[in-house]
Subunit: 471 residues, 2 copies
Amino acid sequence: MNAPLPTELLQQVRPVPAAMLEALRARFGERCSTAAAVREQHGRDESPYPVTPPEVVVFCESTEDVAAVVKLADQHAVPVIPFGVGSSLEGHLLAVQGGVSIDLGRMDRVVRVHPEDLTATVQAGVTREQLNREIRDSGLFFPIDPGANASIGGMAATRASGTNAVRYGTMRENVLALTVVTAAGEVIHTGTRAKKSSAGYDLTRLFVGSEGTLGVMTEITVKLYPLPEAVSAAICQFPSVDAAVRTTIAVIQMGVPIARCELLDANAVRAVNKHSNLSLQESPMLLMEFHGSEAGVQEQAQTVQDIAREFGGTDFQWATTPEERTKLWTARHKAYFAALQTRPGCRCQAGDACVPISRLAECINESVADSEAAGIPYWVVGHVGDGNFHLSYLLDPNDADEAARVEALNVKMVQRAQRLEGTCTGEHGIGLHKIGYLVDETGEGAVAMMKTIKRALDPKNIMNPGKVLAI
Amino acid sequence: MNAPLPTELLQQVRPVPAAMLEALRARFGERCSTAAAVREQHGRDESPYPVTPPEVVVFCESTEDVAAVVKLADQHAVPVIPFGVGSSLEGHLLAVQGGVSIDLGRMDRVVRVHPEDLTATVQAGVTREQLNREIRDSGLFFPIDPGANASIGGMAATRASGTNAVRYGTMRENVLALTVVTAAGEVIHTGTRAKKSSAGYDLTRLFVGSEGTLGVMTEITVKLYPLPEAVSAAICQFPSVDAAVRTTIAVIQMGVPIARCELLDANAVRAVNKHSNLSLQESPMLLMEFHGSEAGVQEQAQTVQDIAREFGGTDFQWATTPEERTKLWTARHKAYFAALQTRPGCRCQAGDACVPISRLAECINESVADSEAAGIPYWVVGHVGDGNFHLSYLLDPNDADEAARVEALNVKMVQRAQRLEGTCTGEHGIGLHKIGYLVDETGEGAVAMMKTIKRALDPKNIMNPGKVLAI
């Protein structure tokens, strides 16, 4: 058994009429598939929900392709669900009301790079690793790094962030402009390549984080950054999670421009050691990275080392060569899969609380204490420089009782984060899972306004229905 | 004669019914005014448009006050126009359809400062200088600096930025959460104090930059920053505007984290010298500021000095004491009034183009050449690190022909900026003046979507009607 889906949604499945299927086949040929394996692959993500396949999958290769699918969907009032690489965590991709999955994976072209302006325009299916590979020779990089090699479109849709956000911001700050297919199948452009603008409503940021419920982003213009002159990564071990977090709080409050500041608890380090064949000391640690000039990096590191010592942190262990750094960060990025392997056959439910930095120690400590008391396997990683952490549980998919207990723990953590003036999701999004938490967090009035916008822009409710707002 | 107002708007004046006026007087007493002087003061801004007063002005002191006015306005379908300090530049505050001006100037309370989280929550009428005065002892500052001592509410409404944006971002990046009175007079909250969030549609950024057309922002939670350990300001003169701009482009492309990078052309320097009794060399100059550690500031400055020399820049003249720096920045901030005084009786029309950084030299050079050829007094200042500059003209208000020629020059500059993938407004907003430019820039489709949102959230069109979208 998996986590239960909201049953009221499943009662609203809207079948794809034969006429629409015919029209899709006529236009897309083999790029339109109803094969069970293809549908299943598009009816799941990394959430613990059961596979909920769409009726049809269409592999789009251009904005015009997407517009053609959405026009048909509009005509027949059938749901469409944009699909990138399938790495989302909250049920975003599940076809709870049936319909068509628009696979954007073949829209994988870096359309334009303007190194002289520090911008790039990419198709929605380009992944972050691909973009960084393609611009490597320009001396620039795209910093947003949610761990998974997600598509830039998917990252924009969930307002993703990750390890570098503490210094470079999230997708909110790093998307300059979009090409969007609206719910009517029209193509619009939001924003320009100018770094800032006061020209009208911020449609760009309305779509960033809208999880496919307002339209399909097909091209994304993002900011790039010059590769820093010097990069250095360091590990520091602490006697407790609390000590690591308090170090982080002090670093942020002092304004140190740290580029990455990642917490791993002992459980996470243990899993990473096993999976990546490392021998890190199995205690809470910060994995940090410093960007700047040679002197600047040294200065930052010295400041952080001094703070860490006050909280019982060890001497930094350095990774200065690109190879050493890559090894460490690869291990960090594999923490999710590493942890999954510690309990064979399990699935993962990842929490995603984010609180004002001064409340972080309280929020993590109490949540960890609850998890210890419950005795369900868990681990903690966190982009703690932003006040964001993931307390993740390893679930036995055949144990309904365990799923319920995990959800109860999660609710408690979310309520704690909200009481501390934080949010139920720092970067994963609402999806199917957090619809109720969103109401608790922002209030009925704000959610009513979101629904008004959704109904105005998508009157037939065909854009990824059931997500974010349960309409 | 002033710049002509769009006549179709003026035909839609909606009178305040006696019953509404009575209800306002009953609730607000002397805080509800129909005195001519008060109305006139609220019917103008710094744009060259003629005074267009509201019928009534209400001085609000709380979110509840604002909600009460908007509820009445909703009931009687009467326009409301939020008013801060009146420093906007594009006709935002003019009561083109009559109605009620909501003066937020008495909502001047810094509600909460959380120094440990680097956040502050302020009422909409708090000015940026006031906020910085009140938090001075905390070791923090609020960086957004549009020049005028604007209200934070007004700055949020126009998505303002200014001199520090090159390093610290604009209001888009620095507003975390809002309290908003909707068009129905309901109070909603958007966002939390967490630094990032993926919880639902980004209502915060929908309101930031909406120029009062979607609701009234009454409380704003903003990010603060630790005062840098070291601050240093420097002046560098150049043989041409082009040389100064090319220096800036190189600085940005190298990723130097410069905190301020302001261009003044010789005309602007001349006006500033006269107004502020300075003796700056009257040639194009960059006024720069560096923030960081002592060593970091020196390193940045050295890099920029090296680049500047390549383009014929002089040795830096330094202002390292707070007093010297304040003198320089005050002079810079008074450039607008200084220039106005060079042509007695004139009014100013300020351009606000913003382009990708590599296009900046071309955009400024061609626009300056047009201005020289036209023979109308002008000056240029610019937040050039962001690709944003203001080519401003001094207009004889009694010369309709001159107004038309200036507008023609402005149109040419806007079209040039848009052709170079930039925007018609980097920070001043659309107001009444740039409604047509917005359509040119973003296209009919995006503007249609903005109108759909406006109609959905404000079905009676009472929120600052006629601005941004001409509805």
